[in-house]
């Protein structure tokens, strides 16, 4: 493992499998009456959120607290940032207070990379989503969810996603979730297909390790998992698609379309969902939809990442593997 987690593309297959395996162990902690480990006692983690995000911040906070870290939450609103303070100064101020890790969410692509590589601070940096670039813990929790559902909770230990066919549908152009997932799923051996109107696929996608299709119905029968991305209604104002209704008709997932998927195939969504836009209530509330499971898995994944980046060699859970095994 590297010292920071900036991009899913930085993870090797073995790194990723180690994180997924560690997350399985972390998940067991959630089943205990006392959901807490002493691993990061005395370590301080700051959640540095320059963009509104309730679910990701809460998920990181839960993970940090379950590992007994001291947690500082920093949101840009009402802070010195809104008074014009630079990212560098904000980060250095926080580090001066003795922070061991910075979990950063930022609207500018590359902000976590800059934080980790500009010599501004020494703390470990974990990217919690940057602009339209990367959201590596989201990709990890998605892969974790897929491995559990498609390979098996116990059978999956030590395994990757070789040969699994994953379809990602929606606003790929503006999606850090799509970018992270393409990178990680490819590393884990899955076959990824992106489906979107051509306007929402970036120029340059031809070099990504995946297929691109404009026809959802053709891809669904060949999918083991279908991940629906959030599509903001405002996109139609920039002519990415004509209307909300046309988008839904061509690229939304409803019950009828879901029926074209193989029996075992699951429906995923990183949330928050826009019901009626990319996904109907019927699909969102069905057994096959893993959206709530993904949230729960997110805490386990983030515990695993924090532990592996900060915990050193001490076992996370009794009998847990150590980082040497990677």
């Amino acid at each position: 493992m590297q010292r920071h987690l900036i991009s899913a593309a930085d993870l090797t297959r073995d790194d990723a499998v180690l994180i997924l395996d560690t997350a399985e162990e972390m998940a067991r902690v959630a089943d205990r009456p006392i959901k807490k480990l002493p691993t990061l006692r005395g370590r301080t983690v700051v959640n540095l959120f320059f963009e509104d995000s309730t679910r990701t911040r809460i998920s990181f906070e839960a993970a940090e607290k379950r590992l007994s870290a001291d947690v500082i939450n920093f949101t840009a609103k009402g802070s010195s940032v809104s008074k014009g303070e630079s990212l560098k100064d904000t980060a250095q101020t926080l580090e001066a207070m003795g922070v061991d890790a910075v979990v950063i969410r930022h609207g500018a692509s590359g902000a976590p990379y800059r934080l980790a590589n500009s010599g501004w601070i020494d703390a470990a940096v974990i990217n919690a989503g940057d602009g339209t670039h990367q959201h590596p813990t989201q990709a990890l929790l998605d892969a974790f969810t897929m491995r559990r559902r498609l390979v098996g909770r116990d059978a999956g230990i030590g395994q990757d996603l070789a040969g699994k066919r994953i379809t990602i549908v929606g606003d790929v152009l503006h999606s850090r979730v799509a970018r992270s997932n393409v990178d990680l799923l490819h590393t884990l051996g899955a076959e990824v297909t992106l489906v979107a109107p051509p306007t929402l696929v970036p120029v340059g996608v031809e070099r990504w390790p995946c297929e691109v299709s404009y026809d959802l119905d053709a891809v669904l029968p060949k999918s083991d998992a279908v991940m629906m991305l959030r599509v903001q209604r405002e996109r139609m104002n920039a002519a990415f698609f004509p209307t909300e209704r046309e988008y839904s008709r061509r690229y939304g997932l409803d019950g009828e379309r879901m029926a074209k998927m193989p029996e075992h195939a699951i429906v995923m969504h990183p949330g928050p969902m826009v019901r009626g836009m990319e996904i109907t209530a019927e699909v969102a509330d069905s057994e096959r939809c893993t959206v709530v499971e993904q949230v729960a898995n997110g805490v386990s994944i983030r515990m695993a990442v924090l532990y592996l980046l900060l915990g050193g060699n001490e076992p996370a859970v009794s009998h847990a593997r150590t980082t040497e095994e990677k």
Partner: protein, 428 residues
């Protein structure tokens, strides 16, 4: 002492010769010239060029003296071998009146490091709506002949047409910053493989090419000359080549950084590589070099764009666009054009002095190195190789993409009308 003998200089890269300067003028060029009563500069085989002329410099004064002033910018120019620079109009206030251009012109004259020829804005406040008083700026003491809204594109086709027509009355030229604004909303870097990966807003080549295509056709229609600023794509080269083959009066410039750097560098998210137009691909870089060599692109212009440290020491999206370039331009041109065999030193003199002076109508600059001509000269140690150290820059700003990079060539002497502005690499 008013006489200077430059002994053993390779004039335009030719055989070593002596050049005798008397006062403001070159008195003689030849072998074994007498050093009688002259200060002698031993050139020792260095290359002597006519003083370089930059058609595209941002001096920032008035308004952003924290990043550059006419004094620091002209010192940087002298340091880089320049004897004349054209100062872009996007100052605060904008150089859209006779008053502002005269102020900038006079500051250049007072400091005496380099002639400063102000560029006037095409439209009031660079807003693209209403023509600035182009005639008044031309008739002012600054004698403006080049007009540009650089930093912004004159995107309204009617305004562009009128500007092209209007300046014909006094032999002016409009220098277009070709950037279709709607296609570049939120644009952060060249649109392609790298932007797709990095999640940075794409700046498509077509946003530049479509404006150039329109403007060469406008220039043809109204019979005007047009100059294209900082051309950056292979497609733009093709359009200019086509336009020239049709006899359209178009000239074009390329920056040193577009001859050397590609968008792969943006992977570092280091805003020192953030520039307008953005760094393009290897294919574009090679097309630009070839076009500069074959004359499709007429000149090298620096687009020297100083910014204070804090405007680059931040996340990519928040950073300012631009790079300083006056003090590294000749080295980059040697690296990309001369050492690659694409251009001779005579070719460099043509692209960096003769042609820019001609396009901008800069009298006394870009002249042959021969008797009777103004002594605007630059002596270059072409054998030198060294790492770029921004700490040594004369510019007030340090936003260079070449820090620590090894580049060839070093300007050791610059003379502005016989007066040394740079001696042994040190400003006078």
């Amino acid at each position: 002492m008013s006489k200077i003998l430059i002994r053993g200089a390779r004039v335009l890269g030719g055989e070593p010769q002596d050049v005798l300067i008397d006062g403001e003028t070159i008195e003689a060029v030849g072998s074994g010239l007498s050093a009688d009563g002259a200060e002698v500069v031993e050139a020792g085989g260095k290359v002597l060029l006519p003083g370089l002329v930059d058609l595209h410099t941002h001096l920032r004064e008035p308004g952003r003296e924290d990043s550059e002033t006419v004094l620091t910018g002209t010192r940087a120019a002298a340091s880089g071998g320049y004897t004349a620079v054209f100062a872009m109009a996007n100052t605060f206030p904008v150089a859209d009146t006779a008053g502002v251009v005269e102020q900038v012109y006079r500051l250049g004259q007072e400091h005496g490091y380099c002639d400063v020829q102000p560029i006037g804005a095409v439209t009031v406040g660079l807003e693209g709506r209403k023509l600035a008083e182009l005639g008044a700026m031309h008739e002012s003491a600054a004698g403006v002949t080049v007009f540009s809204d650089d930093g912004k594109c004159v995107d309204d086709a009617v305004i562009m047409r009128r500007a092209l027509e209007y300046v014909k009355a006094f032999g002016g030229v409009v220098a277009q910053h070709a950037q279709e604004p709607r296609l570049t909303e939120g644009a952060q870097m060249n649109e392609g493989v790298v932007s797709a990966e990095l999640g940075l807003g794409g700046w498509p080549a077509v946003a530049e090419e479509s404006v150039i295509a329109r403007d060469v056709l406008l220039a043809e229609h109204v019979g005007s000359r047009v100059h294209i600023c900082h051309l950056s794509t292979a497609g733009s080269v093709e359009i200019v080549r086509w336009a020239k083959s049709r006899g359209i009066d178009v000239t074009a410039e390329v920056t040193p950084h577009h001859l050397l750097l590609t968008d792969e560098l943006v992977r570092s998210y280091n805003p020192v590589y953030k520039v307008n137009p953005p760094l393009r691909t290897e294919r574009d870089v090679l097309a630009l070099r070839e076009a500069l060599a074959d004359g499709t692109i007429d000149i090298v212009a620096t687009d020297h764009a100083p910014h204070p440290h804090e405007d680059k020491d931040c996340e990519w999206a928040a950073a300012a666009m631009g790079m300083v370039g006056l003090e590294t331009a000749l080295s980059v041109v040697q690296e990309t054009m001369v050492d690659t065999g694409l251009l001779t030193w005579a070719g460099v003199a043509d692209r960096m002095s003769v042609k820019p002076a001609r396009i901008g109508r800069a009298a006394g600059h870009g002249r042959p190195v021969s008797a009777g001509e103004p002594a605007n000269l630059t002596l270059v140690d072409t054998e030198y190789r060294g790492q770029v150290d921004p700490a040594g820059f004369a510019s007030r700003s340090r936003n260079t993409p070449y820090e620590g990079r090894e580049l060839p060539g070093r300007v050791t002497h610059t003379w502005l009308r016989g007066k040394a502005t740079l001696v042994d690499g040190k400003l006078t």
